[in-house]
């Protein structure tokens, strides 16, 4: 098995799916000859040509709007939004059109595609190259939202997303695009959407995380172990559908939960997880569900390390939750 970083894993998944299915096309800004500003589509233009690897004009609304039309006709577009921060010009096409097309036509028409979106902070990008907008899309019925944390998951989840009948937002953790390396199985394999992964078994407290922050949660759990605190860590991988059974099973066992995400706290997905956990595990809870998150401000530039909910802050919350 080769060792890939996340970019290579994404690139491999795209190539495999494009070879398998002539209907899969890639479009976006700079995704063609250049191979994307993060090089995730590198080599695809050379192999599949300008018809299937399309450089578009500078308009996210046009990228998603035309992709919706392509999907209606039967293609499987995989548009790339260069940075999650630039997805907002396409918000109307995503929320009003992509998410509702099947529903509003009573199932006569479907528009299924996968929007690849590098997201998150930690690359010195300031607030327009660092945001984590998952809440907007999880709150929009009709969409699925997937976030891999490792190369192996990035490949297997992207393949599943491309084969899924529903529209999927595929959020790629650019902070660990190159830093996260790992062995990735050759050829095609699909990791089902909606299945969380218990990456560390424990009995004292459940730590829920995804994407780049899963690496921080894992780090915090290792440090907690030194202090004799035994964490169970879940990488949710898919936020919609959410693996509610895995979450409930773990919290029923530990009686405590800490949720971690980069997005601002207020109305972040951590709020939904806390609400679900207290609804379903109320009598098992020995402490409030704690949220370790980005702050309720735009994403900063100079102090981004202070802003990000990294291991030291997660560890604090773990301690407080266990001692509660």
């Amino acid at each position: 098995m080769p060792t890939f970083n996340i970019i290579q894993a994404v690139n491999d998944a795209l190539r495999i799916e494009m070879r398998r299915d002539r209907n899969v096309v890639v479009l976006g800004e700079d995704v063609g000859k250049f191979g994307g500003v993060f090089r995730a589509t590198q080599g695809l233009y050379e192999e599949f040509g300008a018809d299937r690897v399309i450089d578009t004009p500078l308009a996210e609304s046009g990228i998603i709007g035309t992709a919706v039309g392509m999907a209606l006709y039967g293609l499987k577009p995989v548009p790339e939004i260069q940075f999650a921060d630039f997805i907002f010009p396409a918000m109307d096409q995503i929320v009003s059109e992509l998410a509702k097309y099947r529903y509003r036509s009573g199932g006569q028409w479907t528009s299924s595609l996968v929007i690849r979106v590098p997201y998150g902070g930690g690359i010195r990008g300031g607030h327009y190259h660092s945001q984590s907008p998952e809440t907007h899309f999880i709150h929009t019925a009709g969409l699925k939202v997937v976030v891999p944390a490792t190369p192996e998951d990035a490949k297997g989840l992207l393949i599943s997303a491309i084969r899924d009948p529903d529209p999927v937002l595929f959020l790629e953790p650019k902070r660990v695009y190159r830093a996260a390396k790992g062995e990735v199985p050759d050829g095609e394999y699909a990791i089902p959407l909606g299945k969380a992964k218990v990456t560390r078994a424990g009995h004292q407290v459940t730590v829920l995380a995804w994407g780049a922050m899963w690496h921080e949660a894992d780090q915090a759990a290792r440090e907690a172990e030194q202090e004799g605190i035994d964490c169970e860590v879940l990488d949710l991988r898919s936020l919609q559908p959410l693996d509610i059974d895995a979450v409930v099973a773990s919290v029923v066992k530990t009686g405590r939960a800490v949720v971690v995400h980069e997005a601002p706290r207020t109305c972040g997905f951590g709020a939904e997880l806390a609400a679900l956990i207290q609804e379903r595990c109320f009598l098992h809870l020995e402490a409030p569900v704690a949220r370790v998150t980005g702050f309720d401000t735009p994403f900063p530039y100079s102090l981004e390390q202070e802003y990000l909910p990294r291991a030291p802050r997660i560890l604090r919350a773990v301690r407080e939750t266990v001692r509660y």
């Binding site: 046009g62 919706v68 392509m70 999907a71 209606l72 529903y103 009573g106 199932g107």
Partner: protein, 398 residues
């Protein structure tokens, strides 16, 4: 600002000491004259491509559409449907263009082109079921009236947000070319939609990639209460094509034959790989925007009068009369027939239960419902079982 002196191309060639750019208005009237075939007196200029039968059949469709709109507005007044939005006075723009497309071509409608859905075979009763949102509604009661979709007729789904269907039309035609199919898509929208983000990106993407699509703008003079001149300062809508390096055409939208010919030609160019065309159909919204609107609040009735004389159906009737294709009694028979057809369709539609089943609330959100939807359906069923008021409307809050 619009003076002759300002054109001065020679001066301009001399560079910055020349005069400003020529006023676009002067450009456009020359470059985009209003194209007509059927004169307002019913006479014809230039040859006519359509056969007599074809024209007669389209005339019949236009009459049906007009009768349908009037009947549905009446039903709305009676409280039998909640809302209606018609196309009275714009029938030539709709049928002339839809009829000029090929059977494999896709249609991306706005909300005034139900005529095109019917022309493409949507059963009238099915259309009425959509208005009623009842158990027979092909949209499962998910959308408000006049937001029909009809896949068998390659007629896409209508959404309320203005302009969003334009890039879809581009994407579909682009996909067809990628797959090697000959398909040209037709996108309908009003002149108000030309201000939307999606008009801009749709036409720009189509221009760059020479996508085979026909953009058909029904310039009916109004966007609810906003008149055409406050929608854009460009003298014509057609000239907006220049911004995207595509073809532009301006045609009398109340002239079925001209609309058909211009659309036919645009379709042919698209199919031949010559790229998209923006067709401006100059017509008029004689009625209110919808049954929710009262135009008296913003426009004096007089301004509408001149347009009543330009009625596309009357004009076609005179033409057909002159050609001996339609006598008064034929016309009366057509009227009687379409009324009868509508009558039957309404009856058939109203025979369905007034509400779709509870489960439809959660259908077609995803290919298969997620646990949230399954749980919420059970929750709702329990609540409804305990208390019927869960499903009842209440006064004062509607």
């Amino acid at each position: 600002m619009r003076g002759e002196s300002e054109v001065g191309l020679p001066a301009r060639r001399k560079g910055v000491n020349g005069q400003p750019a020529p006023a676009p208005e002067r450009e456009s009237t020359e470059a985009f004259p209003l194209q007509q075939v059927l004169q307002e007196d019913g006479s014809v200029e230039g040859e006519v491509a359509l056969s007599g039968e074809e024209i007669l059949s389209l005339y019949r469709w236009m009459v049906l559409n007009r009768q349908l709109d009037e009947r549905m507005v009446a039903m709305q007044r009676q409280g039998r449907i909640n809302f209606y939005i018609g196309s009275i006075g714009e029938e030539a723009a709709v049928f002339g263009s839809a009829a000029a497309m090929g059977p494999a071509d896709w249609i991306f409608p706005c909300y005034r082109e139900h005529g095109a859905a019917l022309l493409r075979g949507m059963p009238l009763a099915t259309y009425v079921c959509d208005l009623l949102g009842n158990a027979g509604d092909a949209m499962l009661g998910h959308q408000m009236p006049c937001h029909e979709a009809w896949r068998p007729g390659l007629y896409a789904s209508i959404s309320s947000p203005i302009g969003t269907q334009i890039p879809h039309a581009v994407g579909a035609a682009w996909a067809a070319r990628i797959k090697g199919d000959e398909m040209v898509s037709l996108a309908y929208f009003g002149e108000g939609a030309t201000s939307s983000n999606d008009f801009h990106t749709g036409l720009n993407f189509a221009g760059v990639h020479k996508v085979p699509v026909v953009f058909l703008c029904r310039n009916n003079g109004w966007a609810i209460s906003v008149p055409r001149e406050r929608q854009t300062a460009s003298e014509t809508i057609a000239q907006k094509a220049l911004a995207y390096g595509i073809h532009g055409e301006r045609v009398d939208g109340n002239d079925l034959l001209a609309v058909h010919e211009v659309t036919r030609r645009a379709r042919a160019r698209a199919a031949a790989g010559e790229g998209p065309t923006l067709v401006e159909c100059v017509t008029y919204r004689i009625e209110g925007h919808s049954t929710s609107d009262d135009p008296r609040a913003y426009r004096p009735p007089e301004v509408v009068e001149p347009w009543r004389k330009k009625d596309p159906i009357l004009r076609l009737k005179v033409f057909l009369g002159r050609r001996g294709l339609l006598g008064e009694e034929d016309d009366a028979r057509i009227l009687a027939e379409v009324r009868e057809t509508i009558q039957r369709a309404v009856k058939e539609a109203e025979a369905h239960p007034p509400k779709p089943p509870l489960s439809t609330l959660f259908q077609e959100v995803y290919a298969t419902p997620l646990w949230q939807q399954r749980e919420q359906l059970e929750e709702l069923e329990r609540a409804l079982a305990d208390d019927p008021r869960v499903g009842e409307a209440r006064g004062g809050r509607r």
